[in-house]
């Protein structure tokens, strides 16, 4: 029996793929989905001072079918976890996940011996592309997370990284 040929090595749409990646990176529509405190900072990131619309990411879609990006902004508890998983499954490929805040990364401050309610990190449920630490992260951090995700898609960094002065 022949092994199937890996066509991706033979047939490539390099330019088209690059263009698609560029398009997707410039049009990340997030799901309107706030869980807790971080959701307020997510709203603030859409506000006039930070304005994620500059990167084409302000089109918050309430329906998971139309969203490309799930920003998990807040604590996920065990009652909520099936709903979050369903939302992720309802989103269509290609889709990305940003874990915003410590709770979404690891359960954050709500993890202690004997805890009974919190899912310790959204990556226990589905794969995560970018983690944004903070409790809650500042809106700038969310923008940085989106830029990082764009870098992951296109391989190029949109703005040079600003190194904080030592």
């Amino acid at each position: 029996m022949e092994t199937p040929v890996d066509t991706s090595q033979i047939v490539q749409f390099a330019t088209l793929n690059d263009l698609l990646a560029l398009s997707r990176a410039n049009s990340l529509w997030p799901l309107t989905f706030g869980l807790a405190c971080c959701a307020i900072e997510m709203m603030a990131a859409g506000g006039p001072r930070f304005d994620i619309s500059r990167f084409g990411a302000e089109v918050f879609r309430p329906s998971p079918r139309q969203a490309d990006l799930m920003i998990v902004a807040g604590t996920i508890n065990k009652k909520m976890a099936p709903a979050v998983k369903t939302l992720y499954d309802q989103m269509l490929e290609p889709k990305w996940v940003i874990a915003m805040g410590n709770c979404a990364i690891s359960g954050g401050p709500f993890v202690f011996p004997g805890q009974y309610a919190v899912v310790e990190g959204v990556d226990k449920l589905f794969p995560v592309d970018v983690y944004i630490p903070g409790c809650p992260p500042r809106p700038e951090a969310l923008i940085e997370g989106i830029l990082t995700l764009e870098q992951k898609l296109t391989g190029k960094r949109r703005w040079p990284v600003v190194k904080p002065p030592q």
Binding site: A36, A39, M43, G46, R49, N77, M80, F112
Partner: protein, 375 residues
């Protein structure tokens, strides 16, 4: 506008369906779930199902020292974190009989009132989004950023503050904060007037809200609803006046009361409260005494056995902390009585027979923060 009495009684019809609103829904303000039994667009029964963001705050209280629980309070109702800080430090100070320097109390009032304004601004913007007007959100967040700049400079965080300490504050305020706050107060007054002219007096908004979701004072009492919900029903109940805590008794301010009990009354209460908060901030800045901001606190804090209560007026209503101590370093029991919990519990009764958009207008007018319900 259709008065609720015009709506035919449809509760006995059989052709209903269940609309599962949430836990992810734009009007749910987070993860509230409402199981709505609908007859067409009429809501025959709306049962809120909270618990999707239950974060074990009360269990955590029994797992850590008094001081270690303080950051948790800022995350219960993240929009009015300082009030929750205040309630918890208040109950510990009451139990341990810690004296708080007057300067600290004044700064607590100033920062709390700033926090109240920012909380109401978020409510206002989110409510207008519920009602389909998106632009006010951006204006309100613009103003809110100014408050956050001020508060961030003294507290170190933008949202989930942990600024108050047992016996005082962790930082004193500086002149930059004082001048900045004064500038903010003068900036905010014309903005509030602009919001009144542009949004509150808009005919579409008034038609949308007037007479919608009537909640009587008796219903509020039976369900323990407080805050703007109760004041929008005509009862001048405000913990700052009725059970004065901190130095609130030294200020001259009014409690906005609107007797109509509809969504518009609750709306107007909150808009008027922002103006009153500005007044309090101005007076507190004028009267601000000099001195230390931290009192004498024992190194190892043990509360005498017994139970203690402390109530504050949070942005959403009466917030009470009840702690039970057994003379140890960690609390025996911490109970957080949160306003959103009681305010939401009357929703099932108040929303009967409304149509869906009105039911959501009522839900938004209760000003819910979901972790505040679920804790």
């Amino acid at each position: 506008m259709i008065a609720p009495t015009d709506i035919p009684d449809r509760t006995n019809l059989q052709e209903t369906f269940v609309l599962n609103l949430g836990p992810q829904h734009p009007a749910a303000h987070g993860v509230l779930r409402i199981k709505m039994t609908m007859d067409g667009e009429y809501v025959t029964r709306a049962e809120p199902i909270p618990g999707y963001i239950h974060r074990m705050h009360e269990k955590m209280g029994e797992n850590r020292t008094w001081a270690q629980f303080l950051p948790n309070t800022g995350r219960v109702d993240y929009l009015s974190a300082l009030h929750y800080n205040h309630a918890f430090v208040g109950v510990v100070e009451r139990a341990a009989r810690i004296e708080v320097p007057p300067r600290a109390e004044f700064i607590r009032v100033i920062t709390s009132e700033l926090n109240r304004i920012s909380s109401h601004l978020v409510w206002w913007s989110a409510y207008l989004v519920d009602l389909g007007g998106f632009t006010p959100l951006l204006y309100a967040f613009d103003d809110r950023e100014k408050i956050l700049d001020l508060l961030e400079a003294v507290t170190g965080s933008r949202l989930t503050y942990c600024y108050f300490r047992f016996g005082g504050l962790c930082n004193d305020i500086d002149d930059v904060f004082i001048t900045g706050t004064r500038a903010f107060v003068t900036q905010m007054r014309p903005r509030l007037k602009m919001y009144r002219d542009l949004v509150t007096d808009n005919i579409i908004l008034r038609k949308r809200l007037e007479g919608i979701g009537p909640i009587s004072a008796e219903l509020c009492r039976k369900y323990g609803a407080t805050g703007p919900v109760l004041r929008g029903a005509g009862i001048a109940y405000d913990v700052r006046k009725v059970e004065p805590y901190s130095v609130y008794s030294q200020f001259d301010f009014q409690i906005p009361v609107f007797p109509e009990g509809d969504a518009m009354a609750r709306y107007r209460v909150r808009m008027a409260e922002m103006e009153q908060s500005l007044r309090i901030i101005e007076q507190a800045l004028d009267k601000l005494p000099a001195g230390p901001v931290m009192g004498k606190v024992p190194r190892v804090l043990k509360l005498p056995a017994g139970d203690y209560c402390y109530a504050v007026e949070a942005a959403r209503g009466r917030h009470m902390v009840r702690v039970v101590s057994d003379n140890k370093e960690i609390p025996y029991r911490v109970k957080l009585r949160t306003p959103s919990f009681s305010n939401l519990s009357l929703y099932q009764e108040a929303s009967k027979g409304m149509i869906l958009p009105d039911a959501l207008a009522l839900l938004g007018s209760l000003d819910l923060v979901i972790p505040d319900i679920d804790r």
